[in-house]
């Protein structure tokens, strides 16, 4: 029953277009150099950007899709995809025109009204205007010299920074999906925090409305200069239906000396129906570099959506005394597949990394943790602690752990712990007997299990993420 609601909701198409000024025709399906040129031209990009795209495209044509993940990926015909999404016509004009079931889910998640409007595809300008916080927000950031804009704007207004940092962490040639993204990326976000500046607010709330917008080949670049701090929030808890099946995003983060970046994601793309039809393929490359001494990077992710997830937010610990964290909750239900984890590459001395991965599998799904900890010869006194837990609901799902360790310095201490547990029928019945429904019982247990990770999220997001876990698992037990 509850499953039906979610199904209903996720069936609803409410994707909306990019920005009003690209009110245009559709580029025909398929990918070749002309299409790359066309994308660049439509975005009025400078020559160097076009060259970058073409180089990426040419390299991509020599590459193959990776096959090492514990995933069954159906054949993808890259020539049948349109690489430039058209803005959506006939968007609803008010919430009255939006599917009530969808609104119901928004309310369950506790999403504020303005965001509900945006997520429902109501004309973006109208929504933005109603968010009065926007202007004050922008002013505050500008006063501090913080740059926070779309990737396209950054290409136009801050070409020096883009040219300096783009692909400095994820090279164009890094992997198949990264090369594809570099050739055809639609848009994304750019953040620059100047020296000594502490970003006074979460780069989140109103901005996450925009995040829905950025389409299937999104690109994010965050640069934290020396002694700066920023907490960045990406994604959305609302079920996001998207007819674009293939998503291949890139996130690059550069953290300079004494700086700290916290990056949090909630990913809830359409997971397909309960028989495994449809759903987004999410092939993401996320990587950060702790470039300077004492720099710090922390990844927190809550992954509940997508039919297939291939994602390893990683960190290169280059600066001495730098540290990195990876906190992850990945939920799979029905026929979903997730192969996710992290890579911690220790290059500098006294570098520390901490990995906490909580997998939850239900239905017929498959959930894998894949993590690499590498300690290079010069990384004296490197430390890593990894904890990988799996929770199973039912006995038809799979949980797998693939920890890789490459330790090339004998002063390093690398520790790995793993547990697997199951929600038993006895536990559910015990809760039922205390008046708690099976769905709420699963919610209680799962949120208890994922608590340590959820606590890392910014407050208002944590509450939504909690509800999201429960909704994702509705109907998975009993």
């Amino acid at each position: 029953m509850a499953e039906d609601i979610l199904h209903e909701v996720t069936q609803t198409d409410y994707k909306y277009g990019f920005t009003t000024d690209i009110e245009t025709d559709i580029i025909p399906v398929g990918l070749n150099e002309d299409v790359v040129r066309l994308i660049s031209a439509k975005k009025k990009e400078p020559e160097w950007m076009l060259e970058y795209r073409l180089k990426a495209y040419r390299h991509w044509t020599t590459m193959k899709m990776p096959e090492w993940a514990h995933l069954k990926i159906p054949e993808i015909d890259y020539q049948s995809i349109s690489y430039y999404a058209a803005p959506r016509k006939n968007a609803p004009k008010s919430l009255d025109e939006v599917d009530p079931e969808l609104l119901n889910t928004f309310n369950k998640l506790g999403i504020p009204l303005e965001e509900q409007m945006a997520l429902s595809g109501i004309a973006v300008d109208a929504v933005m205007d109603s968010v009065s916080v926007k202007t004050t927000f922008k002013e505050t950031l500008a006063e501090k010299g913080i740059i926070f804009c779309s990737f396209s704007e950054a290409v136009e207004h801050h070409p020096d920074l883009i040219q300096k940092y783009m692909s400095s962490v994820v090279p164009v040639t890094d992997n198949f999906f990264a090369a594809l993204n570099s050739a055809v990326f639609s848009d994304g976000s750019f953040v620059y925090i100047p020296k000594g500046v502490r970003c006074p607010m979460e780069l989140s709330t109103y901005f996450r409305i925009n995040a829905v917008n950025t389409g299937q080949f999104e690109r994010t670049l965050i640069v934290a200069d020396e002694d700066s701090y920023v907490s960045y929030l990406e994604g959305c808890t609302a079920p996001t239906r998207d007819e674009n099946q293939l998503h291949a995003a890139i996130v690059e983060i550069v953290v300079h000396k004494n700086a700290e970046v916290k990056y949090s994601t909630v990913q809830n793309w359409y997971p397909g129906d309960k028989d495994g039809r449809g759903g987004v393929y999410n092939f993401v490359t996320k990587r950060g570099i702790c470039k300077g001494e004492n720099s710090k990077l922390s990844w927190t992710q809550v992954e509940t959506g997508s039919a297939i997830t291939w994602k390893y937010p990683s960190c290169i610990l280059q600066g001495d005394n730098s540290s990195a964290e990876f906190y992850s909750v990945a939920v799979t239900n029905h026929h979903q597949q997730a192969d996710t984890g992290t890579k911690m590459i220790h290059l500098g001395k006294n570098t520390r990394s901490h990995i906490l991965s909580k997998g939850i599998s239900a239905g017929l799904s498959n959930n894998s943790y894949r993590g690499l900890v590498r300690v290079n010869p010069k990384a004296d006194n490197a430390r890593n602690f990894s904890q990988c837990d799996s929770l199973l609901l039912g006995d038809k799902c799979g949980a797998h752990t693939f920890p890789y360790m490459e330790v090339n310095n004998e002063t390093a201490i690398v520790e790995h712990e793993a547990t697997t547990s199951k929600i038993s029928e006895d536990q559910i019945f015990y809760c039922n007997q205390r008046g708690i429904s099976t769905e709420d019982a699963v919610g209680l247990i799962v949120n208890g299990y994922a608590k340590e990770v959820l606590n890392k999220l910014p407050m208002e997001f944590a509450v939504e993420a909690q509800k999201l876990l429960q909704i994702t698992l509705e109907g998975s037990v009993g």
Binding site: N432, Q433, G478
Partner: protein
């Protein structure tokens, strides 16, 4: 208040309850005794709607409602409480969160507003005192790492919190030390009113010294085969079950 008529129930295709009849009125205390494997815990499971058991025949009505139509949580919210023979551990779920959820579900079912934070804390404190429950326990996850006796005490604490009309205590005495038995039994007695009823499943007369039953039933081979007053328990303590088994099997 409770009327069980000719209940037959299976687990994994094996019939455990074979025509059980029981009637409980408000204010009454019923003791159920009987040899291991007779079906006492099965009766508790069937009353509370454990989906592992299949009811093939008969009826259960509680406050005039057909319980077999209701889900386990609905039955709980109608006021049936089971103190489990083997309470399970629920790691990661704090006692506080668990209890607040349970109370609010019950309130929602009865169309009441959620309990306020202060009322909830006051209730917790009051009921903890009733069963002399240690703060350390309520700060932990549900039953996680609790000793056998602590789990049983926690069951009665939850019963006190939820204030049920019908409580089923399945061998709540086993695992409790002598002092704990007295404390827990006194707790149960303090919760007793002439509106609620208790079914006490036990093997030992000892508990019935504290919680004095109005009726003692012997459950054997899936049926209640003998009913008496509190003296029946004394007789069983002395003579065991053989004479009853003979009576029944000889029929």
């Amino acid at each position: 208040m409770l009327e069980i008529k000719d209940i037959h129930a299976n687990i994994n295709g094996k019939e455990i309850l074979k025509g059980l009849i029981l009637k409980v009125n408000p204010g009454e205390i019923h003791a159920i005794m009987g040899p291991n494997g007779a079906g006492k815990s099965t009766l508790a499971s069937v009353l509370t709607g454990n989906p592992a058991f299949e009811v093939t025949h008969g009826s259960i009505s509680f406050h005039g409602k057909d319980m077999l139509e209701l889900s386990p949580e609905q039955r709980a919210n109608e006021g049936i409480f089971l103190s489990f023979q083997y309470p399970v551990e629920i790691p990661g779920v704090s006692m506080v969160n668990f209890m607040r959820t349970a109370i609010n579900e019950q309130r929602k079912y009865r169309q009441l507003e959620p309990i306020s934070a202060t009322d909830f804390l006051r209730l917790m404190r009051e009921k903890k005192e009733l069963v002399e429950m240690d703060n350390k326990l309520t700060n932990r996850s549900v039953n996680e790492g609790f000793s056998g006796g602590e789990k049983k005490r926690n069951e009665i604490f939850q019963m006190a919190m939820l204030d049920p009309d019908l409580s089923i205590l399945d061998e709540t005495d086993s695992g409790l030390d002598i002092d704990a038995l007295r404390i827990v039994a006194n707790g149960v007695n303090k919760l007793k009113t002439d509106k609620n009823a208790t079914i006490v499943i036990t093997h030992y007369q000892r508990l019935l010294d504290y919680i004095v039953p109005d009726f003692v039933h012997v459950l054997y081979d899936g049926r209640i085969v003998k009913t008496g007053d509190k003296n029946l328990a004394l007789e069983l303590e002395e003579k065991g079950y053989d004479w009853i088994k003979k009576e029944v099997d000889g029929e």
